[in-house]
Symmetry: D2
Subunit: 424 residues, 4 copies
């Protein structure tokens, strides 16, 4: 674990500059009628969950290039998540993937407590075969034509709920690879009927205070059709299942050019938005760091969230879902958590009364300028001050590098093998 003294030493050097920037920004915002302290308070309360699997180096179907000190198991991963939270003070929860992270509940709880972490949504895995598995998911899982395979997949989801219950998670995220690679391979209607029937069995076993998320994706690993291809299908699923079922939006799972913030708005309006998998993409499900490609899009998503903040019943789980192929996973997760906070802070700065007025008058230019005024404000001093006050680092990446953590764990964690494709 990174020692407090390291953080304090690093912060000491940057604190004066930060204070000057924070003061100047406060004065500037005051001229715009905004109380910087109120914004900082909201940012300080905002948290995003990190994915346990994100702490390892990802890969593509072509190759995986391992990094140094990759976590060997869920306890190493939780250590890494602890570092991330310690430095950013922005990632209080971890999202687990079963069976990858299977371990005794007490041990999981203990390790999490050690780092002050909780557990976010549980993820089941029926898109891969595990050693010794009775039925293969090669041709599908929850929507497979074979009832025995479907039953196995249902059972796995129920087991995942059970594990989650014991560690304090409150939701199950279901993403499957089911679909087809060729026109005609599957009857798309029968396939979806089977999917719904399986999900209803899982739903029946969901605890009363839990939620289940369906996550849509336009393609990959299936290349002609996927069972849960878009938000329309995801919405149908949540309606068919019931009140505890919601949709989860991953920013990289859409067709090119699609207006994602509008999907967010629609799902909120119809009471079915459950949460996010944050990341960024330029082409497909690229799983790049949040905000690294289209930061304004991320802001526009948060603009919808802030706009709906007071909507009764709205409760969202914010999670990161990325694949880190060329960066240190801890650094990328920290960078993403901060970018997500940044988009939130920028959205908080939008003058909503003015915006509403411009919208009412169809003053498109001033309406969009009002959004942009929030976006282009450099809120870094707010984020950094919130971190500093919470015991985190002013500059988490620099502090992480100074800490020597990676080199340290690399000594006890053996270099992972040069294996074929990467899995994330």
């Amino acid at each position: 674990m990174i020692d407090k003294s390291i953080i304090e030493a690093a912060n000491a050097k940057a604190a004066d500059g930060l204070r000057a920037d924070y003061e100047a920004l406060g004065a500037h915002l005051a001229r715009r009628g905004i109380d910087i302290e109120a914004v900082k308070a909201k940012v300080a309360k905002f948290g995003v969950a990190v994915p346990s699997w994100g702490t390892g180096t990802g890969g593509t179907r072509f190759a995986r290039f391992p990094g140094a000190g990759e976590p060997r198991h869920i306890f190493d991963k939780l250590d890494d998540c602890g570092v991330i939270h310690r430095l950013t003070a922005a990632t209080p929860d971890v999202s687990l993937h079963i069976p990858w992270d299977k371990a005794p509940a007490a041990d999981l709880r203990a390790k999490a407590e050690e780092h002050g972490l909780g557990f976010a949504s549980m993820n089941s895995n029926t898109f891969q075969d595990q050693e010794g598995q009775t039925h293969s998911y090669k041709y599908g899982s929850l929507s497979h034509t074979d009832p025995a395979t479907r039953a196995q997949a249902v059972e796995h989801n129920i087991e995942t709920i059970e594990i989650g219950r014991e560690i304090g998670s409150k939701s199950l995220t279901v993403w499957i690879g089911d679909g087809s690679n060729f026109p005609g391979q599957s009857n798309m209607t029968r396939q979806f009927e089977r999917y719904l029937a399986s999900m209803k069995e899982v739903y029946a076993r969901l605890p009363d205070d839990w939620r289940i998320y369906s996550e849509h994706k336009i393609y990959e690993p299936a290349f002609y059709s996927t069972v849960v291809q878009d938000w329309g299908t995801s919405y149908l699923i949540s309606k068919e299942l019931g009140e505890k079922a919601y949709c989860l939006v991953d920013l990289g799972h859409h067709a090119p050019n699609v207006n994602i913030e509008m999907i967010v708005a629609r799902l909120i309006q119809f009471g079915k938005l459950g949460g996010f998998h944050f990341n960024d993409s330029k082409y497909g499900d690229d799983d790049l760091d949040a905000g690294s490609i289209e930061p304004y899009r991320l802001f526009l998503v948060f603009n919808e969230l802030v706009d709906a903040e007071d909507k009764p019943g709205l409760s969202l789980e914010h999670m990161i879902d990325q694949s880190h192929n060329v960066t240190d996973p801890i650094e990328s997760l920290m960078a993403s958590a901060m970018e997500i906070q940044r988009a939130y802070a920028q959205a908080l700065l939008v003058d909503r009364a003015a915006l509403e007025g411009f919208q009412e008058e169809n003053d498109a230019l001033m309406a969009t300028a009002t959004l942009k005024a929030g976006f282009r404000t450099d809120v870094e001093p707010i984020l950094a001050m919130a971190r500093l006050e919470a015991g985190g680092a002013i500059d988490p990446v620099a502090t992480f590098r100074q800490s020597g953590y990676r080199a340290e764990v690399a000594e006890v964690r053996p270099k992972s093998a040069v294996t074929g494709g990467g899995i994330v």
Copy 2:
């Protein structure tokens, strides 16, 4: 009108070849266990409506290049539609656009009867301003922030229903240009609430035996967001409105790469598919002739339709919606009607029992090969024979050219002006 003798003369020359081809295909299909006569009978009963506006030359925002003998008004358009049906025997109905096609109902009925035509779905227009209109649709119509503008748009839709009632139409298609060009210009949630409220007013005035179609489109004329952007939103609309509300799918209104046949399957499964606007596209809403760019996609749509043919309650309106910028509109509409028939005939040839077996066994290769066996069969002899037997032309385009119709009408219809952009 094109004289029967012209058609007969043209057919006489081609009949022998057709008979030989038809016989050979019959023998081939018999070896595949298919009765060619049964297929032909189904094709003969299949009709697709032509859009009145499609008989004029289209254009882009850059230019419109008028053609010779363009229709001056709805009666000229109905004459052109009569020619199309006469030659193809495949387009028994015409879809009108109000106010473009406004005329005394009795006159419309009389002209249609003259050509043996009926009236398909009515289309309202609130995406343009008309001379003398009180409120502008520049910033929206059914979803406008101003109640008076919304009321005007609602009223126009009701008027369109009234006109349709008098001429025997049974449905209203609502496509609007409402949306926004800039992030923030519109509050997307409020805008959709207003849209739904307006549509409910229209719905309240829908006759009991009518249906209302909402037509989604990802973009254009709005370039940041559209109110009815995809099938998910269109489905929500149909659910909010009620039993008489359905979704209409235009093949060119989707994001790149989207699996349209799957959307068709989903809407059928959930009882909300109402009809089609057929055309083809490579980039955006290109409005090209049906089947001209991706004929296999058109076939895959029909594969879903044939698969669902016996589904209780399924009733669809098939319409063409194209813009003809570089071809003779009559020729393009005939070509499209035949391509749509072609896709239907090919889909009828698919061995569905075999397909189901392969799907059940996850034999992807044979399943897709089974579809392809239908697609790659040259069904032209079936289509041509169906036309011949119905009094149409074996080769409608060639016969049309021989008839001299275009030159004839060009003498009475003045050349239309070189105006700016084209509207379709």
Copy 3:
């Protein structure tokens, strides 16, 4: 024209806040080792040309909704351009479109001088037919199958050069609508051969100190293929023509997902980048205000330009090319000019030595963070101070509104007709 006193009065109210912001930013940048004055000096020298046609309200193929006080002719347009430059001090040149802007050279020069404006690249128009034109461009212009049509198009380009010569322009931008709507309509190779032959004739008449730009576009108005579809073809053209031929990049003319900044880099590397048409787009050639959809992409383009700033021989023409359908054209052009300046200023802030180091070490995270540090700095005080010092407005849009200019011109410029589609 907007009176100096109006600008001064508006500036007076905002000057104190600006000075405070500028000072704070200066102090912050100093801590980052950047001299704010040096940046401001570069920004002050940076100019982008406005398109004469952009001062009118645009439209789509569906409709055009005119605005108040639209310019009647090139002299009105130049007045509007004068206002834009007066308020922003960022748009010293105007790009003309022939034949839309045809007028006696002396009159053009006089009007431009009145506003302190110069003339940027000339644009020819062979994508529309003009009243009385001998040969139609319905099926192409420079690449038409008919030699007479090609000759007419060549002649028009030469005439456009001639007009440009007389008013001090130094380049010709050639964008054509030539292409095809259906597979097979054109032999794509023959068509390109004809295009090249025509362009060589134009090139032969290009003055020695002129440049010719070919502008590629993936689609629209042609919907299956365009003759100059991408930068690859545009590059081939510039090579075939010779040293005075360059490529012009319009940000909205690419396939979805394409990395435009990389194209910019490649064209610079191979000595063939000539200039830009700035705007923004989410779907197709949406022609929205620069930076309104993906501001980071605009920044990344400028990152390449700043990176290459010292490259010998690099000389670029920066122009805006937009269509304003729902905003006041003057306001949108001002907003875009400022966004373009903003991206330039942000790119100037990038620590290039650090960036190079991170690139060398493959430190992807710090490299991208280094770019982002430039992007997320709020450079508005620099831009506003540069405007103020040049006699422009601190807040050009607000000042424009206060000036009453639009209402004033609306009294002398009659409301334009509700015509069909819009042309831009």
Copy 4:
């Protein structure tokens, strides 16, 4: 190996039907002025190379689901390729991948001769790290910032040429994964300069009678930029390298909506098309079976090839490059080879004189109908008869299944491990 008797037995049952179909088609084509025998002769001469790696089961980054009897090494792969050629008589050559297929040249030649196979283009691999490799390709290979890594990659390509020389190959295909995942990670210009320098070293070692192909790809495994992103860059490479350098087009490596047949036309026109990697895709580099998603697009590519058939100097290598995740690789490769032949045969049927006439007259409708007349002809009897006459199977997939080959090899080839991602 599949015994001749098995093929003959299977053919015997289907021969009568085939003969009837062939005769009928011959009569039909004769009415269209086409000699079926001439078409068949051309088809019989047409061959496409299969990729050695395609004989194994592919996978995605999420999972690989192995099949039965997967080849253990290049000799198993050559056996499988032998089966494919035996049954289809359409795949005379195999394309190798180094180091995957490294083996003594004499053994390779012997095994190939056994099956009557030759060797097509050699493929190097610098997108993965191999056990024991000195320098990692994590951050690039031929374009790496580190000279030693680049040298290693150059050396590997030279070694690949050496191996190819000994077995009779005549070309090297270079596809690399180099690029970047984040804006700023790489200086795109420097990176391309390094790439070109490395390629020049490889080129210098290319035998005189060899060709080198650069293969572009828009994304994956790099997700922000790739060094050889499109045909424009690939063309530049081929020009920089010299006369023996050509571009290779993979149908799945383009941005959405891109007109690939046009790229083919341009590269032919400028003398730089070298060959193809055939496959099909709906979303990204899906590597699905050729013609399975957009068969008309495949036809349009062949339409360009047939159009240019007599172009002096045109010499192309046709190869398949696919990933078979849910089908038997042998079956998919056979199916693709036949689809490629089909597209070729259909393109041969196009009435080029008529087409040219319609193009000249801008008769778009008849021009595209002329292409479609070729496409919609069911040429299966021609393909099957060509196979039958060459000793292949009328129905290769059915015959393969009847042969029991897969079960047979599954007994000697152990089931491969359930490993993570798949590599293709």
